[in-house]
């Protein structure tokens, strides 16, 4: 059995700031593994440990995603090997383009039984790359997955639905997007990171993958800052809680909030 984990090497918008002209300043943001992708790796790792499956990490993106630092960060969490597509032209790629490239990588790897992804990427948070990827492959996708057991052809998948949970049986290959709390990711230790440096890394050339083109072209014609209400920013002295409470209630009544 072959399990692929799609992970993203990217930046956290918490460390970015928007300039008055609507462009985004990323200069203070350090690249890293997207917040929820270690959860996907851990869910897949546990399944691989039970089934003896091979665990392959896949990432595609802009310059930097295939660096030794990035590959080791992913490998250190228990992947057997990684396959990357690093290309400057993917810097501004949309969800569909990234999914189309990922689909070609999965076909290149061959005989993949299962793709596991994170819930949402920390920069874009579209929750759509896994679903478009499944569409490209003609496989079913399931989101909000909390558990995966069984083996290829006979998977039992727990997932959350609005208001509850379900257990599904999946008889063929599938793409599973894990919920943010599906597993507690392990923090890799020194030994894991040392071992990671020795694991195989395959870099694929984007042009050689022959990804079929999109039917839509997106052109950014303008940028702006979202309109935000101006907040009062008043601090209430809390030395005496009872007095602070009175002061707050007076302010809220004046504002018509109570």
């Amino acid at each position: 059995m072959k399990i692929v984990v799609a992970y993203k090497w990217t930046r956290d918008p918490e460390e970015a700031s928007a300039r008055p002209d609507g462009t985004v300043d990323w200069s203070r943001a350090k690249p890293g593994l997207s917040t929820y992708d270690p959860v996907a790796i851990e869910v897949a790792r546990q399944l691989a440990a039970e089934t003896g499956a091979e665990l392959i990490g896949v990432t595609v993106g802009d310059k930097g995603v295939g660096t030794p630092l990035a590959c080791k960060a992913a490998l250190g969490r228990g992947l057997d090997r990684v396959v990357t597509v690093e290309d400057g032209s993917l810097a501004d790629a949309g969800r569909s383009e990234l999914a189309a490239v990922l689909a070609e990588v999965i076909k290149h790897i061959g005989d993949v039984d299962l793709v596991v992804t994170g819930d949402s990427s920390m920069d874009v948070a579209a929750k759509m790359v896994p679903t478009v990827l499944a569409g490209e492959l003609g496989w079913p996708a399931v989101a909000e997955v909390t558990s995966v057991t069984g083996k290829a052809g006979e998977l039992r998948v727990g997932r959350e639905i609005p208001g509850g949970a379900q257990v599904l049986e999946i008889s063929g290959p599938a793409v599973l997007a894990t919920s943010a709390d599906a597993a507690a990711p392990r923090v890799p230790g020194m030994k894991d990171l040392l071992a990671a440096g020795k694991k195989p890394v395959e870099h694929l050339d984007l042009a050689a993958l022959k990804v079929s083109p999109q039917n839509a072209v997106m052109t950014v014609t303008g940028r702006s800052l979202p309109e935000r209400k101006v907040r009062k920013g008043q601090l209430i002295d809390t030395a005496d809680p009872a007095q602070a409470a009175d002061e707050l209630l007076t302010a809220l009544r004046q504002a018509g909030a109570l």
Binding site: E14, A16, R95, A99, I161, A255
Partner: protein, 303 residues
């Protein structure tokens, strides 16, 4: 210019906003329903021009009809495909987008037809900036679904397609036992963060909620991870976006992904023991201090 649109529906007929957006584009509006027949019947009265329903065995989830749904959409290719933010609809929208080789946008604030293109103002990177994006070719949009139609409007006929399902079956369904809530209907909302030390301490918050007349909501880790509340109660970029009169953030650090969910609130109050907490940058009234002292004091003052 006008463009045609398809609305994608899974298990819930919550399409009010999707119909409004699709209608504003001026062309025909179709709906493809991958969920139960009963959902297709409700959607047929939502103001769309036609409904296609994927007829599949009862024990398959809507997602298993993704290929049949993509086929139906591609048979009459639209410029715009729309779906609500539920997990099932996301999967179906992804299948349609892949089939159409469409662009995908998930932060649309507005959608308009200009010349022969579709122009979307799209919020990016946790809503810190907006991009105006002109799309030539098909575009798939993930939007807030809106409410379900009342069901008493005129109905259009339902066309049926048979859906050989992808290999997925539902073997068990259970409800999680948390009360369902519509946070958008609440005038006042209290948001609880990880500053609360234990689930039992929610009693403090409940007492305040009763005194203020507020609904209780939370940050993502409180619902996902701690599991103190249902996931429909968490606020933020991946959760609910609300615009109440009053939002009271208690023990919430105020990270970007949480605060974008309350930018529409009329008044924001925060209680946090850390004077440097990010939440204070976006509040009208800030109280730096221990919630265990301040919350009971406010509850008492309201009585």
């Amino acid at each position: 210019m006008s463009v045609n649109a398809w609305i994608i529906v899974g298990d819930q007929p919550t399409v009010g906003n999707l119909v409004t957006v699709a209608r504003s584009l001026g062309g025909t509006v179709g709906a493809v329903v991958a969920g139960p027949r009963s959902v297709a019947e409700i959607v047929a009265s939502s103001g769309v021009d036609k409904v296609v329903w994927c007829n599949a065995p009862d024990d398959v989830p809507a997602e298993a009809n993704a290929t049949a749904l993509a086929d139906a959409v591609a048979a009459d290719p639209p410029r715009v495909v729309l779906a609500g933010r539920n997990p099932g609809e996301r999967v179906l929208l992804g299948a349609a987008a892949a089939r159409l080789k469409a662009a995908v946008l998930t932060g649309a604030r507005s959608v308009a037809v200009e010349g022969d293109g579709v122009v979307v103002v799209n919020a990016v990177f946790g809503d810190i900036a907006d991009e105006t994006v002109a799309v030539s070719g098909p575009v798939a949009l993930l939007l807030d679904g809106g409410s379900a139609p009342s069901g008493d409007g005129a109905s259009v006929p339902i066309e049926e397609v048979s859906a050989p399902p992808l290999g997925v079956r539902v073997v068990e369904t259970r409800t999680h036992g948390f009360d369902q809530v519509d946070l958008n209907a609440a005038h006042r909302v209290i948001g609880v963060g990880r500053g609360l030390k234990s689930k039992e301490d929610l009693a403090l918050i409940e007492a305040l909620a009763v005194a203020v007349g507020a609904e209780i909501a939370c940050t993502r880790p409180v619902a996902e991870g701690l599991n103190w509340m249902g996931k429909d109660r968490y606020i933020g970029s991946s959760g609910a976006r609300i615009a109440p009169q009053l939002y009271l953030a208690i023990g919430v650090s105020g990270q970007l992904q949480h605060m974008v969910g309350v930018t529409g609130a009329e008044t924001i109050v925060a209680i946090n023991s850390d004077p440097n907490a990010a939440v204070f940058k976006e509040t009208d009234h800030g109280l730096v201090g221990d919630l265990y002292q301040l919350v009971p004091a406010i509850t008492a003052a309201l009585k």
